[in-house]
Structure formats: structure tokens, C-alpha cells
Homo-oligomer: 347 residues x 2
Amino acid sequence: MRRRYRAPMAPSEPQRRTTVHDIAAAAGVSRGTVSRALNGGYVSAAARAAIEEAIAGIGFVPNTAARTLRTRRSQAVAFVALGQHAGAFADPNIGAVMLAANAVLSGADHQMVNLLLESPRDTERVARHLSGGFVDGAIVVSARAGDPIIKVIRDLRLPAAVVGHPPDLGDAVPYVGIDNETAAREIVSRLLATGRRRTGMIAAAQDRDSCTDRLAGYRSAMGPAFEEHLVVRVPGHDHRCGADGMRLLLEREPAIDGVFAASDVLAAGALEALREAGRAVPGDVGVVGFDDSPWAVWSQPRLSTVRQPIEEIGSAAAHLVLRQLRGEPVDPGGRILPTTTVWRDSA
Amino acid sequence: MRRRYRAPMAPSEPQRRTTVHDIAAAAGVSRGTVSRALNGGYVSAAARAAIEEAIAGIGFVPNTAARTLRTRRSQAVAFVALGQHAGAFADPNIGAVMLAANAVLSGADHQMVNLLLESPRDTERVARHLSGGFVDGAIVVSARAGDPIIKVIRDLRLPAAVVGHPPDLGDAVPYVGIDNETAAREIVSRLLATGRRRTGMIAAAQDRDSCTDRLAGYRSAMGPAFEEHLVVRVPGHDHRCGADGMRLLLEREPAIDGVFAASDVLAAGALEALREAGRAVPGDVGVVGFDDSPWAVWSQPRLSTVRQPIEEIGSAAAHLVLRQLRGEPVDPGGRILPTTTVWRDSA
């Protein structure tokens, strides 16, 4: 639609927007003919040419909001993520999932709109936006147990996919993820096999499935050697949390010689704290991460870690939404994609 | 609006959406009364109570798309950024600008919708989205010369603000930025004052004002010592480009003892290449960056750099858009915010 704002530089003065009527008058055809032309219906070649000329001259922009009402389609899909991840831009995984989803949606001529959640106020407003006809579907990452956005999606029956698996998701919304527990057990077992005697874990906030499951995998690999005080819990996935967590581990257990960090960015922070403390990696302490994000290769030494198929996750989530939008059947439950252990220099 | 999709799990079967008519019937009032109630007009307390009860029972969601048509307001503002920055999540600046803008827009009860540009196809679709009534305004970052999104914003007279300053922006869209040339000249001069004899630059793609201006500042600080072969141009702002650029500089000028990288992430990559080459920083080579992004403190050694007031930039851009939306006057041209040199350990 034409904007009511004449120019951004002056107090705005309502500007009458161009309507189908104006186009019809300029083209010398009926309004119905213009509407049919805009909606892809049949009109004569001569009428179409006249209408196109009139549109080019007047600068008419079809009113997508009106079309949304008629077709109930906006051709847009929301990508809902926690703002803190975009903020520090410290979680390269979210960015990679987002780009992979965008590539698929873009290929299907859908606009991805990325909505950030930072506060309860944001949550309420994002819920309103999702329910307002601005999007046809949604991809949700970093959902938590009891997530209000998931509830809104269920209530609206909005075609959606969740990345990861909040414990109370149920069967109403399909999800895409990995087997965090098995992957964590495997990499910790491999770390232990290098002869480490005292291996700790830097675990992140326990309100997401990925965190609890990675801790469960560590616990299972440790078996009878598991000790509660070797697990440090930090509030989030960022470099500083990793460094703080490592300092606390060194305090609690000066003889520590192995560390499993719940993400690569935490492992990168841990490397910094170990360097400060004069501990060689992997000589004195073996460190493993999780994600195989860019942090794994930015770090010195490069990290041994678990590779998540992060692009496949993003595109699978987008395909799940598109299939629902086309009215195709979608199996309930999750798609669990395979991970691999990548062994580099930090352990 | 109620979704036409019954459940995401089965082939979708159109579901009749709840209308104002259903609410009116359930509440025992007229449709007009329901409409007035939804639009904040006068209705009796008894009617309002009955309508609210009916809405609670039936689960009616007001049709925001319809309201958008009526009020021509979506209460949404686009934040348009290049996908590559979100992708590598290697540019923490964009994330910080985005969060700061979101905080201001959120405080004014506007939904920020982040739209990624990655391909010409994205550009066309984003332009359609901007013109479709889905947003009331836009913030554009990383615009280039001849940027098609800027053209769309001008044509639509969409209330907008640009972060940075594409050379052909003109006066139609206000912008927020920094004086890249002066800031670059100052930090390079300071680097030279530490006694460096052969100082090169890792410059990024020259299609954005920030890049050309930072190069101009380096050239001006170098004065007669400027030599073309000491400037390496890399395609983008990421860690690998910084490392590759540094390797090339070392090849061209083995006696190099100073480097100005056009961003902190490039400087971080340069540090890696210098470490590989066995050069001590700052002993053998002094390195300075630009941005004071988290990269500056993640790096070893921590970077001497230019601090951009990145949060102020994001909130100034959001305020510029909100003022236009309220119909308040906005001065044409740019807001240039102050930078400071931050001297740490890398030079």
C-alpha cells in the first residue's frame, strides 16, 4: 500500500494512497478487471497492457495486507529466537540454523522474519504478532519447558517446527534435534580413554533439554566416578561463563585433568582460564566442547568436540513448516539427526 | 485470526475461523457492538463483560491484518541486515545494534522483525515485504552504494533510518553513524607513534562507506609513507579473511611491524596468522583493530581498537523511526556519534 507518510523529513501529512479505482480510471477499464489482473485471473491482453502502464505511471503497490485477508496467507514464516543469542552473537549455531532455514524458505518464496525474545514483554508482543496474520508459520529455537510461545503456537494451530525438544512439547508440534545424551556420553568416554583421572563438566542453565541431556551423558560416561562437585553450572553460553566456570572448577579440584564443556564457546572461555592458571592444554588438562561451531577452530588449541549437523537442522525445520503450509501430512514427534565426534588438538 | 490449519500433524482441513459474528451471537449483542469493543470504542459495561466472556470461551483472536488495513499500522518495524553477518555471527556489532534497536522499539510496543538479505532473490522479496503493509518502518544496516532496499524505502516514503552512510544516500533517509575516517587516522597515528616503520592495512570490501573511509584514514595517517602494496583487500569481515590477509601482507612485506585491521574480527584472524608465522604481538608486530567488539577481549593478546558507540547507534536509529511514525519532524542528514581509541595489549 502507499504510505501515508509524505517524507520522513517533515511532520507527516496523510497522503491518499493509490487504489484499484485510480488504476482502473487511468487504464480505462473496470475495477473488477484491475482486481482480476492483480490476482492473476483472466483479462484481455489489451486490458492487461493498459493496467500495467497505469501501474507503472502511478506507482501502485498491491496491498499485501489486503491480499493476506483474502487468501489468509502472508507468505512469511517467523523464526523465533532468544535475543541473548543474537546479542553477543556468541552462539554461531543459531545463526547457522537461521541461514539454513532462510535458504529453504527463500527458495519457496517465503519471507523469513526473525523475532527476538528478551523479556516477558517481548514474549507477549511476539505472541500477538504470531496471531495477527503477519506470518503463516513459525520456527522456534531455544524453547524452554513451559514456553509461552509454544503454547500460543498450539492454541493457534500455527504450522510450526521446534528446534530442540523442550521436555513438555508433546506431540502437537514436530521438532528437529539431536541425541544430546548419547553424543555427550561418547565424547566424554573418549576423553576418559586418554587417561584422565579427574574430569569435570561446565554445564549450562538446566531449563533446556540440550543442557540436561548433555549433563546426563557426562554422568553416564563417568559412571561410579561421577561426583557432584565436579559439575559447575553457569547461567549461559558465553565466553565469560566458560572462563568463570573453569576458574571455579580449578578451585574446587586443583588436580583436575579433564573438562567437558557443554558448548564450544564455554570451552573457549575455559581455555582462557586455563592459560591464565598456567595449565597446558592438552598436556595438563584435556578439554572437549560441543557443537563444532566456528569457536572450535578459532580456539587455540583447536577443540575436540561434537559436530551437530546444524545446517540440516535448519533446513529440516523449514521443510517441516512448508509441508504443513502445503497441507501435506507430517509425522508427529521428532527428527533426530546424527552427530559425530571430531577429535582435534584440545584433548 | 484463527488459522485454517486444524493441526500440524494431518493434511490440513480448512477450519472456519471465528468471526466477530460468532462473538456477537455468543454474547447476545450486535456485531457493531463487538467491533466497537474490539476497537476501544464505547460499549456498556454489561455488553463488554458479555463480549469478553464470549471471547474467552470461543478463543477469538482479533485479526490484526484487518486492523492493519483500517489503521494502516502494523506496529512492526523491519530491521534489514545482510545475512552473512548473522550467518557467521562473526559481526557482533550487528547483533548489538539489533538488540539496542529492539529495546527501544519494544519499549514503544513495536515488534521488530529482522529480515535477512543474502541473494538478489532475497532483496526482491524483502522489498515486497516492506511494501506489503507488514511493517510501518525500517532500519537498514550494511547498505551499499546503489542499494535496492534504500531505493524501495525512498519510493514508498517508508519511515526509516540507515545505520552507516552509503555514499549515494542523499537526504531522503536519515542516518546514524560514526566518523570512520577520523577514527581510523587517530588509531593508526597512535600505532605509528609506538615506533613502527612498516605498517600495513587489512582492508575489507570497498562497497561500503565504512570501508572506504577507514582506508582513507589509514592513508592520511601514513602520509608520504603510504605505499599501495601495504594494503591488502579481503572480501569480508571474518576471522579467515583476517588470517589470509595477514599471510599475504607477510609475503609482500616480511619486515612488517604494524597492522591496522579494518575490524576486530579481521585483527583476530591476523593474530592467528602472526602466531603461525612465529611473530610476537606486540613485540615484533603491533596490531590494532576497529569496533571494540567482543572479539577485542576474546583475542590473545587483547586488541587495541576504536570503540564504536554501538548501542547508542541502535537506539538512535530506532528513535528516528519512531519519531517519523509519530509524525514528528526529523532533521535530514546524519547523526555522527563520537568514537574513542581503546588502547590494550596488541599494540
